[in-house]
Subunit: 130 residues, 4 copies
Amino acid sequence: MSMEADMGPPRFGSIEQLRDALRRFSLERDWDQFHSPKNLAMALIVEAGELLEHFQWMSERESAELTPAKLSEVRAEIADVFIYLVRLADRLGIDLLSAAATKIDQNARRYPADEFRGSSRKYSELKTRD
Amino acid sequence: MSMEADMGPPRFGSIEQLRDALRRFSLERDWDQFHSPKNLAMALIVEAGELLEHFQWMSERESAELTPAKLSEVRAEIADVFIYLVRLADRLGIDLLSAAATKIDQNARRYPADEFRGSSRKYSELKTRD
Amino acid sequence: MSMEADMGPPRFGSIEQLRDALRRFSLERDWDQFHSPKNLAMALIVEAGELLEHFQWMSERESAELTPAKLSEVRAEIADVFIYLVRLADRLGIDLLSAAATKIDQNARRYPADEFRGSSRKYSELKTRD
Amino acid sequence: MSMEADMGPPRFGSIEQLRDALRRFSLERDWDQFHSPKNLAMALIVEAGELLEHFQWMSERESAELTPAKLSEVRAEIADVFIYLVRLADRLGIDLLSAAATKIDQNARRYPADEFRGSSRKYSELKTRD
């Protein structure tokens, strides 16, 4: 992975490679001082808001049929959310894939497929278990 | 990767494996009908809010020194954000690592290390470029 | 307005009366130390997330036809958002009604009724003016 | 209250007057069709994110000492949050001041001043009662 501007976009083969690139990016700019978990969690939700803004006046159907131009904008916002999420997890020593695995295992127990199939009423109710 | 409850948590070797597990999880419960990009972007920010709640009254320093119990709670919230992010990207056909690479390349050009090193004033100003 | 628990809920005739009650509430608990604008803006968005959670899996139509039980929950979340908004505005010396008036005046100029009537396409586009 | 662009900003003497102006504003543009509670709750959190963005890299102290230029920007974001909050409450038939009174009464019972005075540890713990 190279950050050299004249070599085109970097390629990341894994979250760890992205994490390392973000560490380097922050170090080179001396920005670690701003990257407390508190601040990174704020930055994450700010970006999540910018992402949501694209969808706020669309119907659900429209949100699934984005134009190429809109999709490109949405992709950039999703990248921002992901970048802050990887950075926050790194600062806290959390492995994202492992944390997701734990959560999916819990969810599989909480929401057995047979019991929670298809009903929006049930789907809505189950959220109250959170 | 297996979702069988009696086989312990699944292990994901890549985002793609997590993505596939989430597809299966949603299919088994017939939840795709609720997972429009609009709704998933909402769910994502709701989880980002639950994550932020843990930090809201902490000082920045405290947020970097979490107790094991608090860290475990934060890990679960980070997992929720990640899960919805992977799900949303999947519904839109977006590759997360590739999108992040594009964004980091842009950021490297916008914020040259020499120009944007260390000052919170500059850091604050540069946000206005977004 | 009285905060005495045995006198029933207080009544506020104006935002100023609510603001004063919140000042007293915070002073009595020595919570001003936590109520920096930064922290209050975080608390506000956390509550906005809890509010949004009620709507995330509903259709738009369902969101307009809440059951009394759900409406009561939503009302409590709206109150939380309002309380933090009044508190934040107070800490910054901002008058909410006056700030809203300024904004509405700007919006009336930016979005002439004749030009922006009814089309979701136009409505979506106009957001790019923000 | 007049929305005429050449008459200067309107003045609102109460939340009800603001609510009525927003009704008129939306009617004149035929925007009620977009203003489902679900969509308005999304718009509210999007604006809360824009508000938070101003504070995300500031220290708490800095957030209490805004420059006039920054304060003006923050004031405009606070106005946006307030406008969507008033609009959402209106669509749901909720009286903001009354909802806040109910909540403050509950909070006064939950957090007796004698028990919850001053400690950030206690303050943090009490949030778990929510």
